[in-house]
């Protein structure tokens, strides 16, 4: 009886291959993802809490974490503003070149990060296409925290656009018409009827862009200047500690990064669930 229940892992089905498919999936998932991540947790645990805390609260680590998280938040916020505008324009308006623009939005997904990094550096260097315009104004982008922001806006943009786009596409015109017929002007309809309904997708895009930005390495290190306490990001500090063979330090910083990033994503998910309850859907 108990044995029969134990075997009935799945609901009965006429299709074969469940055991093989699930077995392969779980084995592969464990070998590639779960066991390696468990090694990270195990190593962190072996440091003990005081050891972990000492590494994470060291001034240089704190500074790197602050640079990573603060600039990622700002970049994700910029992406929300422009990402929503881009999604809106691509879905709602018809103009020449729209499809090309739509396709180019995915460029940060397709372009290797190192290539993006050196290209952005070339553009924003004092003698670059944009840098030479900004230099007379006294604005330096390359080799400053501002450069980190530019790189993080680059890699985060498609996350916001691509999460907002399908929701906006499915948005029912009847709702807008209802708002208008009840006397709302266009601005009221957009800001008080449509944007609240888009909020969950906007937040999802924000969270995805933020999570990607916090971990980003390739596109940032070329443009950042990498000065400790100023423009050194947490992933770079991990690499530096690894090159010094300080595995414990690298692991602790990595664990702290993962922990904070997951906490932020959890928070956003909670806000999203609250939003859905409040506005329906």
């Amino acid at each position: 009886m108990a044995g029969a229940r134990g075997l009935a892992l799945k609901r009965p089905s006429a299709l074969p291959g469940f055991g093989l498919a699930l077995g392969f999936t779980l084995t592969y998932l464990s070998l590639i993802v779960l066991i390696p991540l468990a090694a990270l947790i195990l190593k962190t645990a072996s440091l003990g809490f005081s050891g972990f805390w000492e590494i994470v609260t060291a001034p240089r680590t704190l500074a790197a974490l602050r640079v990573s998280f603060v600039i990622s938040l700002i970049a994700a916020a910029i992406n929300v503003v422009f990402g929503v505008i881009v999604a809106w324009v691509l879905i709602r308006y018809r103009f020449p070149g729209r499809r090309v623009l739509d396709a180019i939005v995915d460029l940060p997904f397709a372009l290797p990060t190192a290539v993006a990094g050196i290209a952005l550096t070339a553009i924003y260097a004092p003698n670059g296409w944009i840098g030479s315009w900004l230099a007379p104004l006294g604005i330096k982008v390359a080799y400053t925290p501002l450069g980190i922001g530019v790189a993080l806006v680059f890699i985060g943009l498609p996350f916001v656009v691509r999460t907002v786009q399908p929701v906006l596409e499915d948005f029912e015109r009847e709702i807008e018409e209802a708002a208008a017929s009840l006397g709302a002007n266009r601005r009221q309809t957009v800001f008080r009827v449509m944007l609240p309904a888009l909020m969950p997708s906007i937040l999802t895009g924000f969270a995805l862009a933020f999570a990607r930005a916090v971990g980003e390495y390739g596109s940032v290190i070329f443009i950042a200047g990498n000065i400790p306490f100023v423009s050194e990001i947490a992933p770079l500090l991990i690499v530096i500690r690894l090159e010094e063979f300080s595995y414990a330090q690298a692991t602790a910083i990595a664990a702290a990064m993962l922990f904070i990033a997951f906490a932020v994503i959890l928070f956003v998910n909670l806000v999203q669930a609250w939003q859905r309850r409040r506005f329906g859907q």
Binding site: V86, V89, L107, P112, P235
Partner: protein, 294 residues
């Protein structure tokens, strides 16, 4: 006051203006903002790669992409992708078959775990393998006694690449196969087809374009991955340098023209990826996953 302005608008602009769109100046302004933003942040970097690559002339360009170290980097990048992409292809098929065609407890947890590598920093993706297989790692001593090297060698690069490209195929297939249900497969089985035949001749044709879509994206990331590979590679020229790592080395040696020349090949790969992706989306929109996220 604002009522008056809106009222005037209504009279002077266009009487039949739809209530579900913005006024013309607003529309034009928004389009200009979007175009300017995308041009500055996306288009300009892409153009600059090719412009910088050709700055020193075609001769220098050719030299940069045909010197032995560059060729070795290209070969390694192709080799790594040739292992990582099929591995994740097989995994994507197995995972989507199990998740989409069967009901079992823990399914949503499994679905979440598959996406996990996307929320891990590339640097950490490399670090975990150093912790496992590095000299001070959990299996380090054993591997050394056996004379096997994983980290700072090709196997480590392959593993790190598989990790970062892990979800690509599965996440395209799972939602699509869930949407398609199991009706076709049940019909085939009830008509006497074997499980394997059903899979090859019923399931696969139903998902072939989504499969190609996932593989294209997986391949682009596999060939372009930098952070994870950088951590486990050891940067041995001609041996453990992939193309993105080769770009970094050239760049750090201030050999900018050569760095951008190799980078332009990767940018070309990105462009081809985008073109194929868009072509698939236009031609087979209904046959690849409806979700817009990748």
């Amino acid at each position: 006051m604002s009522d008056l302005i809106y009222g005037l608008d209504f009279v002077t602009e266009d009487r039949a203006r739809s209530v579900t769109t913005e006024r013309r100046p607003v529309r034009i302004a928004l389009i200009l903002i979007a175009v300017a933003f995308l041009t500055i942040f996306l288009l300009l970097p892409l153009v600059s790669v090719f412009s910088e690559a050709l700055r020193a002339g075609l001769g220098a360009y050719w030299e940069a992409i045909s010197e032995p170290d560059a060729l070795a980097a290209m070969r390694l990048t192709l080799l790594v992708a040739a292992i990582a992409v099929p591995a994740n292809f097989l995994f994507g098929l197995a995972a989507s078959w199990a998740i989409a065609k069967f009901e079992f407890p823990g399914k949503s947890v499994l679905n979440t775990l598959i996406d996990l590598p996307f929320s891990v920093s590339p640097v950490i993706s490399g670090l975990v393998y150093v912790l496992l297989f590095g000299l001070q790692g959990y299996f380090g001593a054993y591997l050394q006694s056996e004379g096997i090297q994983i980290v700072f060698a090709v196997p480590g690069i392959v593993l790190a690449t598989i990790f970062v490209t892990f979800p690509f195929v599965a996440r395209e297939l799972v939602p699509l196969m869930q949407e398609q249900g199991i009706g076709d497969e049940e019909a085939a089985i009830s008509l006497g087809a074997s499980g394997l035949k059903t899979f090859l001749f019923v399931t696969l044709p139903n998902v072939k374009w989504a499969l190609l879509y996932g593989v294209i994206l997986c391949n682009a990331r596999a060939m372009g991955e930098f952070g994870a590979v950088s951590v486990v590679s050891g940067h041995i020229r001609g041996k453990t340098n992939t193309m993105p790592l080769h770009v970094e080395i050239l760049y750090n040696e201030y050999n900018f023209a050569a760095a951008f020349a190799v980078a332009s090949l990767l940018a070309l790969l990105a462009l081809v990826t985008l073109v194929v992706k868009v072509a698939l989306e236009w031609r087979f929109a209904d046959q690849i996953s409806a979700s817009g996220r990748h």
